[in-house]
């Protein structure tokens, strides 16, 4: 399958693992690593796969940036076959103390960006009558922990968007799915102490966090030809936590 894959947030642990999964398992795909200022790890990955992976600047909250990136991708010799909306971040606070811009920033990056991304890639996928969109939501969308009203609402919105868009695009050969990872190694706040992480792991059924590659494997499957009848689904990948 000669196709391009676009992964947003490709400098983070999960984005890198997803990119590596495609590069290792799908020999003839080309991966675009969506990055902004931080790109050191994505650059290393691209260097390991010469000619098969390129970094591309993408400000996910900007429709203009999406348009520019899509112009570059569609100017190449193969169609965009899959979009992985992976970029996002959380900025936790209790709602009583949450500033308006904390709410807005998190909604912009985690929900509005997914809207912009889907809108940017859909025309091309509709013309081809095929495509895969995988949205990285979060267990927070279902679990809704205290301190994450903004993040939980945004990610729950991603699930709603996924289900609705799946219905809109199903007849055009486009599938849209979401995954809800729990805790991922390398994806936790840097200021969490070793003691806190240890306590957290003790509360999990598997007593460990997910390896990024374990989440990436599910994303790869949902973006593959084999997942052709799966759309509108939300897959939680949490080691049995919920």
């Amino acid at each position: 399958m000669h196709r391009s894959i676009l992964i947003t947030g490709a400098n983070g642990a999960l984005g890198l693992a997803i990119a590596e999964s495609f590069l290792a398992r799908e020999a003839d795909c080309h991966v675009f690593l969506g990055v902004r200022e931080r790109r050191d790890r994505a650059r290393e990955l691209a260097a390991r796969f010469p000619g098969r992976a390129d970094m591309i600047f993408l400000e996910i909250t900007s429709p203009e940036s999406w348009k520019t990136a899509m112009g570059e991708i569609e100017g190449r010799d193969r169609p965009l076959g899959a979009l992985i909306n992976n970029a996002g971040f959380h900025e936790d606070a209790l709602l009583a103390n949450m500033a308006q811009d904390q709410w807005s920033r998190v909604l912009d990056a985690n929900l509005n960006a997914v809207f912009h991304g889907c809108q940017a890639v859909l025309p091309g996928m509709m013309r081809q009558c095929q495509g895969r969109i995988v949205n990285i939501a979060s267990l927070s969308a279902i679990w809704s922990p205290a301190g994450q009203t903004n993040y939980a609402a945004a990610k729950a919105g991603v699930i709603g968007l996924t289900q609705s868009l799946a219905k809109e695009s199903a007849r055009m050969g486009i599938t849209v799915n979401a995954v809800c990872p729990g805790y991922i190694e390398g994806g936790l706040p840097a200021d969490w102490t070793a003691e806190r992480l240890k306590t957290l792991k003790m509360q999990l059924p598997m007593r460990r966090f997910a390896e990024p590659s374990e989440v990436a494997a599910a994303v790869f499957f949902l973006a593959s030809a084999e997942a052709s009848y799966i759309t509108g689904s939300t897959l939680k990948i949490d080691g049995g936590m919920l």
């Binding site: 509709m126 013309r127 219905k167 809109e168 007849r171 055009m172």
Partner: protein, 85 residues
């Protein structure tokens, strides 16, 4: 192949309709219970289909509403554009 026949075949293929071309009259409404019963998702697909197969682009929603009424109205729009070219 006459344009109306081709449009009917494309509609059946692209929208995966379980019907034959004879089941679609030139003036049968494409949308609503009195016609074929297409929905808004189908409409989007028809717009893409017309662009892909005929290079025909809708300029606005009003034009789309007018043109996408039936196979006959789509064919008229395509023929009118061809005559103007």
């Amino acid at each position: 192949m006459p344009i109306r026949q081709r449009l009917k075949e494309l509609l059946i293929t692209e929208l995966m309709l379980d019907m034959k071309t004879d089941d679609i009259g030139d003036d049968t409404p494409l949308f609503g219970p009195a016609g074929i019963g297409l929905d808004s998702v189908d409409a989007l697909q028809v717009v893409v289909m017309l662009e892909k197969n005929f290079g025909f682009k809708m300029s606005d929603q009003e034009q789309a509403r007018r043109v996408l009424h039936s196979v006959g109205t789509i064919a008229d729009a395509l023929e009118k554009r061809q005559a103007a070219a």
